[in-house]
Amino acid sequence: MGDLILLAISAILVNNILLIQYLGNCPFLGTSKKMDTAVGMAMAVVFVLAMAGIVTWIVFYVVLKPLGLEYIRTLVFIVVIAALVQFVELFLKKSIPTLYAGLGIFLPLITTNCAVFGVCIINIDNEYGFIEMLVSSIAYPLGFGLALVLFAGLRERIIIGRVPTPMQDVAIALVTAGFMSLSFLGFKGMI
């Protein structure tokens, strides 16, 4: 149990997927201009990643490994994730329209979100068992959401500030992300 809590804390803070592992940076910069979109994206990632982690893990250990096909996991995982995203989209549209309205436009973007794909690969590369995989598939996107929402808050402030013209928009956002990353680096001492 202690190990699992340690794994969760490490995934959320110490090895934060956005700021320390550099995964999922395109949506990080793309959707962090406004708080609403940041929250929507964060929720969509948590939702899809938890499912994608479970499905890809099962596919890898039940189908690919017994058949000795580990080397095509890249190909298989991306197809599985793409299909899963499509399925989630259809399912939400039919059964939970309110949630669909909130997540709607972010769902298709998730197929090419490296955070989702990356965590699925991390789960396999670190040879996690089922429970560990479950914890990491939930904790990593929570870390993603935390960083994204905090960053959106900062970016809303930056717009008010007077930034030199060449540094506007993405450039200043990256520098800001750098300093956020620096503060997350401080968690390294925790474990």
Binding site: N25, Y71, I78, T112, G118, I121, L174, G178, F179, L182
Partner: protein, 198 residues
């Protein structure tokens, strides 16, 4: 497609639309593998290969791929080439493969590759698509190499693993840590904007 416009397709990737800066796509590998020149350069080459091959195949099959399912088709084409790169690097450049690690399979979800397939190769002929893929790939390689060199020189005081400063040099380790990547890329982007706007 005339000679002049082919050259144009090629050179636009080198400066005007140089991928990680102008298009702000494919940031994850840009940040993650630029701890040193070697990894940045290797990543750039791997991406160039995937980009050119997928551009050729998408362009060749653009009449056959139905518009509605084009994105899944692109992804499968790209993933196939990524698997090829993964296996080749594992066989021939194993140390580099270990350094790049997770970021080789992640080329699949690199927005640049999918973006070029969608925005260019699906609409243009094979020749132009090759030029576009090469240009974008080389532009990406240059960007990663430059960023990797800067971070390696200041962060570790080495270039290609050799020490270039005297023994008294105190490495600026901030540059090779995660935050250094963000700050360095942000500042480079600012400089590019400054130069480009004049």
């Amino acid at each position: 497609m005339s000679e002049v416009s082919l050259a144009q397709e090629f050179t636009k990737g080198l400066w005007k639309e140089i991928p990680p800066f102008r298009l702000v796509l494919g940031l994850c590998p840009t940040l993650a593998v630029t701890k040193a020149f070697e990894t940045g350069f290797g990543m750039g080459l791997a991406l160039t290969f995937v980009l050119v091959c997928s551009n050729v195949l998408v362009s060749a099959g653009r009449k056959m791929i139905p518009a509605k399912v084009r994105v899944p088709c692109f992804i499968i084409i790209i993933a196939t080439f990524v698997v090829i790169v993964e296996l080749m690097m594992q066989a021939y450049t194993y140390p580099l493969f270990l350094k790049l690690g997770i970021f080789i399979p992640l080329i699949v979800v690199n927005c640049i590759v999918l973006g070029r397939a969608e925005a260019f190769a699906y609409k243009n002929g094979i020749g132009a698509s090759i030029a576009d893929g090469l240009g974008m790939g080389i532009g990406f390689t240059i960007a990663l190499s430059v960023l990797g060199s800067i971070r390696e020189i200041f962060g570790a005081g080495t270039f290609l693993g050799k020490a270039i400063f005297g023994a008294s040099f105190q490495p600026f380790t901030f540059m090779v840590e995660a935050p250094g990547a963000f700050v360095c890329l942000g500042l480079m982007l600012g400089i590019m904007n400054l130069v480009g706007s004049e």
